[in-house]
């Protein structure tokens, strides 16, 4: 199964989405891989190339479901839930977070936000047709992870670094653990990441930034780094 499409470049299909939110009944699945979404809000028109990142799924929904069950070793025990994490990630190995959101690597934070909200309107289970809820839930969780990683300059810098090394598949910046950080540290946060950002280029792994990732994310990173060496 291949999905080596580069978003925002070739093979784009023009698709007009009107501002009406797809409801459960009106939502039809979209057969192509890359769309140019014309977003019309009032008189303000923006054109954003959005690769929904899952085009291949809509083309072969049943095959994917089957593959994800087969690829997913735990699948048997997870049964109906079919292991959202691993099953799905293994099914789309080439997707970077940028590709998931359908933006370029130089995308601005407002582009990230906009792409995220567009995709949320499409894949959030609340607006999914009932027969696709489970599948779209998985997509939404991946989109969410991509959005959370890229919308935080700290984790985005880490992710970009991994991406340049070809390690992006390993990267899984889960929602940051907020338990260690007290509110009093909040003020320092902004200046903190700015200084960290420059440091990160030099240091291979910054201790402070690691602390803010979940334990699982750190372990996965570590594991994949050592296996890459």
């Amino acid at each position: 199964m291949s999905c080596g499409l580069i978003p925002g470049s070739d093979s784009r299909f023009y698709l007009y989405t009107n501002p009406i939110l797809p409801t459960r009944r009106s939502m039809t699945h979209l057969p192509k891989t890359s769309f140019l979404i014309e977003n019309q809000v009032g008189s303000f028109r923006t054109k954003t190339a959005i690769n929904d990142g899952f085009g291949f799924v809509t083309e072969t929904p049943f095959r994917l479901l089957k593959t994800s069950f087969l690829n997913e070793n735990r699948g048997g025990s997870f049964r109906t839930n079919a292991a959202i994490n691993d099953g799905f990630v293994t099914a789309i190995p080439e997707m970077s977070f940028y590709e998931l959101l359908g933006i370029s690597q130089g995308g601005t934070s407002s582009e990230i936000k906009q792409a995220y909200k567009q995709l949320a309107r499409k894949y959030h289970p609340d607006v999914s047709p009932p027969d696709r809820t489970e599948e779209n839930t998985r997509r939404f969780i991946l989109i969410q992870e991509a959005y959370e990683t890229l919308s935080d300059p700290r984790t985005r810098a880490l992710y970009d670094r991994d991406l340049s090394k070809g390690l992006h598949l390993a990267f899984s910046a889960r929602k940051q653990c907020q338990f260690e950080e007290g509110p009093e540290e909040r003020g320092k946060w902004k200046t903190h990441w700015e200084s960290q950002l420059t440091e990160l280029g030099r240091r291979s792994m910054d201790k402070d930034s690691r602390r803010n990732m979940s334990w699982g994310a750190r372990m996965r990173r570590q594991r994949n780094q050592s296996s890459a060496e």
Binding site: V41, G42, F78, R79, D86, P130, T137, C177, P183, G216
Partner: protein, 574 residues
């Protein structure tokens, strides 16, 4: 016993296991059950409309009177006289009592209510009772709420001329999952099916999102993202939410909340006016109940007046020969409730921190709930948000129910030709979810304010050599130690291959779907592979039904630490 005023529908109807999503042609109504007042609203095809009772009230007092054999609630009850409500026969503040055990400080604070709240301090549900013909007749918060909901339902059915089955209810942010099941239970008793339980400020956020979207359409403005801080303080609870809104999508960035509200302010002032209040009312005699009611009315009145004037004179007879006669000024009132206001500040700070939003980036500050009228509350919120004016486009007492009605319409699959229902709320989990590990520590797996739906996993390992079984004890909350959190449930995984401690891999995965159903999946995998040793376990939470604290103690007594697990320090290479 008389016929119960509610009908019990089967439990399976409320579990949401198999949601027939397309089988809801009717529009779900929105209900805001407040600690002190309730309201019902519905999407009427073009806008949200609040329903009125026979006395033309849009907001109804939340109480149920058990006078004769048939209880009657604040929806239809002709009682206008507060003295009668506070005479022992009426039960109110259900929202503060529901799903709480008798060791909870919130339950203890309810002891001065003019009906019977009897905590035995052993970690079970407290006894509550109303005075019927000079006898304390026991009931439960669920039953009281169900009676009230039956009335609300009947009122809505008469006005809308159709049967009402589906509802969207607003709930406090700080409600535990166990408390949510109690609300669902009360709804089931009233023959209502809960489509969604919405944290109150997220309902307000949805209304805000709709208003913003309409403004964009009307003004041809840019559809850029707007950030709103929503502060909602009612009689029982204080909640804060930060939402990022664009194009009808309301993304909840963070939530914080606490069981603190007008009731605490009232209690503080009552204790101030009558320092020996607790001992005076401890025997719950008829005369004491009457005095308690009178004190409550006079104190409420003083608080209301202090919102408009800087000092108030309190002068009333307790009915037992003693009189309270004094003036109270606003400064004294604010000093008395300093802790309440500090708590509010803490909730705002925490919410801003969790949302990673600077106050300068907040576009609108939305103040809702009854306590938003209190000058000190208003000043502290506006002061912290560094601005002069709050958002004025919504009625502070109706915002939550309007949001619930919007969600009800959206969740029922209704669309509006004008686009008023092109809305989506991306919810967040208000409390962290995790398990007991590393001794008595609470190890979160899904952190608070994680976007829903969510699915996260963590690896654990055994705490002892050759340990063959492990207990997975699931908690919800923010405490570092398990006992500071709410117990949701527990189960045992078996078949761990004999090995040195720290080597087997126990994978625990938590999954919350968009309807906020939590499932915990756990099992053992062979080190270095993803192959499960035995079938994984999948358990829907919460599984505990009562006496939560006891179960954890019983587990400890039975198993000690032999089934303990630890966080896995070193994951083996694949």
């Amino acid at each position: 016993m008389a016929e119960p005023a509610y009908t019990v529908v089967s439990d399976s109807e409320t579990t949401g296991e198999d949601k027939p999503l397309s089988a809801f042609p009717e529009i779900a109504i929105g209900i805001d059950i407040g600690t002190s007042q309730c309201s019902v609203a519905v999407w009427n095809g073009s806008q949200v409309e609040l329903l009125k009772n026979t006395r033309n009230q849009k907001r109804m007092r939340s109480y149920v009177t058990f006078k004769d054999e048939i209880p009657s609630g604040g929806v239809t009850d002709r009682l206008a006289n507060e003295q009668e409500i506070f005479s022992g026969s009426a039960i109110f503040n259900m929202k503060r009592l529901i799903g709480r055990v008798d060791t909870d400080p919130v339950v203890h604070a309810c002891k001065t209510l003019p009906f019977l709240v009897q905590p035995l301090d052993i970690g079970v549900r407290p006894l509550i009772a109303s005075l019927v013909n000079n006898v304390w007749r026991a009931t439960t918060p669920e039953e009281v709420l169900a009676v009230f909901l039956v009335e609300l339902r009947a009122m809505a059915e008469i006005q809308l001329k159709r049967t009402i089955r589906n509802v969207v209810l607003t709930v406090p942010v700080s409600f535990s999952r166990f408390q949510l099941t109690r609300i669902e239970r009360a709804c089931a008793m009233a023959g209502l099916h809960v489509l969604r339980l919405m944290p109150e400020p997220t309902a307000v956020a949805l209304l805000y999102a709709q208003q913003q979207q309409q403004t964009v359409h009307e003004n041809m403005g840019s559809g850029s993202e707007k950030i709103a801080l929503i502060f909602n303080m009612g009689a029982g609870y204080c909640d804060v939410a930060i939402t990022a809104t664009a194009g009808g999508v309301s993304q909840i960035k963070a939530l914080s909340g606490s069981a603190i509200g007008g009731e605490d302010i009232l209690q503080n002032l009552m204790h101030h006016l009558l320092p020996n209040l607790d001992s005076l009312f401890s025997n719950h005699g008829m005369n004491e109940i009457k005095s308690m009611g009178l004190l409550r009315i006079a104190t409420q009145d003083a608080i209301h007046k202090l919102s408009a004037q800087t000092s108030v004179s309190i002068d009333f007879d307790l009915g037992n020969g003693s009189k309270i006669c004094r003036t109270l000024d606003r400064t004294e009132f604010e000093e008395l409730n300093r802790k309440v206001f500090e708590k509010c500040e803490g909730l705002i700070l925490q919410c801003l921190h969790d949302a990673k939003v600077d106050v300068e980036d907040v576009n609108d500050v939305v103040l809702v709930g009854g306590c938003s009228n209190i000058p000190k509350v208003r000043n502290l919120v506006m002061g912290m948000c560094k601005r002069e004016d709050s958002y004025l486009e919504m009625n502070p007492l109706e915002a939550a129910v309007c949001g619930a009605a919007l969600e009800g319409a959206v969740a029922s699959g209704i669309s509006d030709p004008l686009g008023s229902l092109d809305l989506l709320t991306i919810q967040a989990t208000p409390l962290s979810l995790g398990i007991r590990a590393d001794g008595n520590s609470f190890v979160p797996i899904i952190p608070r304010n994680a976007t829903m739906p969510a699915r996260k996993d963590l690896c654990f390992t055994t705490a002892h050599d050759n340990q063959r079984e492990a207990l997975i004890v699931v908690y919800e909350g923010e405490g570092k130690k398990v006992e500071e959190n709410h117990l949701l449930g527990y189960f045992k995984i078996t078949g761990i291959p004999p090995a040195l401690k720290g080597t087997p891999e126990i994978s625990v995965c938590m999954d919350i779907d968009a309807s906020n159903v939590l499932r915990v999946l756990a099992g053992v995998t062979f080190p270095g592979t993803q192959h499960p040793v035995t079938p994984f376990m999948e358990v829907r939470m919460p599984t505990v039904d009562d006496g939560h604290g006891w179960c954890a103690e019983a587990l400890l007594k039975m198993y000690g630490s032999i089934l303990d697990i630890s966080t896995l320090q070193k994951k083996l290479q694949l």
